[in-house]
Symmetry: C2
Subunit: 199 residues, 2 copies
């Protein structure tokens, strides 16, 4: 092992620190501040540990954790894109692809490829693991918004159809969690956190 291999690993470890400064639109459950993408990634990985029995059969938990730990690192450069803003979504894929090129290239070649493959797999939803990871990435903000009397839904006037469409990947990615999602969406409407159409 050469020093330069470890130096490259450390350069990436230092780069990761910047994800703690990337703010999402969702607030913590206590409403005190916006969530950042690093702590969000930790929450999702911990959820995978606890909820993987609700995934489709054949899930490899280690591959899922690897994917969840790195799924947002491109935001270090590309920023978080609000999922209910069509204008912001424009160009998101290209911005994130360019960010992935630069950030993963900090690593030694074998690790750059491994993490880039994991990120591509997550983005494409091309495996049981990726579809479960995406499902958790949709469920978690639902829990946070519910704890915040509707949170970003209310602030941005998002309606049931948009949220339901956003949650749709949970149906196949985490079949055991779909009845819960249906229940939570009904609760959100009953509590007045979600309206039947965009304002």
């Amino acid at each position: 092992m050469t020093d330069s291999r470890l130096d490259r690993q450390l350069a990436f470890v230092r780069e990761l620190d910047r994800l703690k400064a990337v703010l999402r639109r969702t607030r913590l459950m206590d409403g005190s501040r916006m969530e950042n993408s690093a702590e969000h990634s930790w929450h999702l990985a911990s959820m995978a540990l606890l909820l993987h029995e609700h995934a489709a059969p054949g899930l490899d938990l280690l591959r899922t954790l690897r994917m969840l730990l790195v799924h947002d690192v491109v935001e270090i450069e590309a920023g978080d894109t609000f999922c209910y803003d069509p204008a912001a979504l424009e160009g998101k894929d290209e911005r994130e692809r360019l960010a992935a090129e630069r950030i993963f290239a900090l690593l030694p070649g074998d690790q750059a490829r491994e993490l880039r493959d994991a990120w591509d797999e997550f983005e494409a939803g091309s495996s049981v693991e990726a579809r479960f990871a995406v499902a958790l990435d949709r469920l978690q903000p639902l829990l946070l918004n519910l704890a915040n009397q509707g949170g970003t839904w209310v602030e941005h006037g998002v309606g049931v159809p948009e949220v339901r469409a956003r949650m749709e990947p949970i149906r196949g990615g985490a079949p055991g969690l779909w009845p819960l999602v249906e229940r939570l969406l009904r609760d959100a409407v009953e509590l007045g956190y979600l309206t039947s159409a965009r304002n």
Copy 2:
């Protein structure tokens, strides 16, 4: 599977959100604010993904990740204890044990036992995985303090002997990283971030 099993899993997932509000003594690398224990846990798990080749032989990466993801959850109740404050360290073990009793009990029995075992193993350093996890938990604040011109060492007048003693578990837990630690400590002294004795 009963609803109550999923309800208990969700109760724990919601509880986890509170770890994002537990502040550590260390600043982010850009110095902008204190790090919280949730994003710290994400950073460590990501480091394990990248650096596990530097551990002692025979490491199970999945077990390491499980341990790192949950190693700080007791701080939700017990708070973060500053490692260079002997008075604060008094009673830490008992505070954290009581917190573990309550927090893990939110989960279904099998998962409560699994995570409690992982936490006990980390605390005791009783496996290759635990010793590697502890090593990363020591290395990460070293990197953050170096990026902050000495950070908490300077603020609290901590000297080389204390930091060296604190880093000692890296020697056995991540043998491949020990030469790096020696080098970083020399750098810290040369740069004036660490003095040879407590002020």
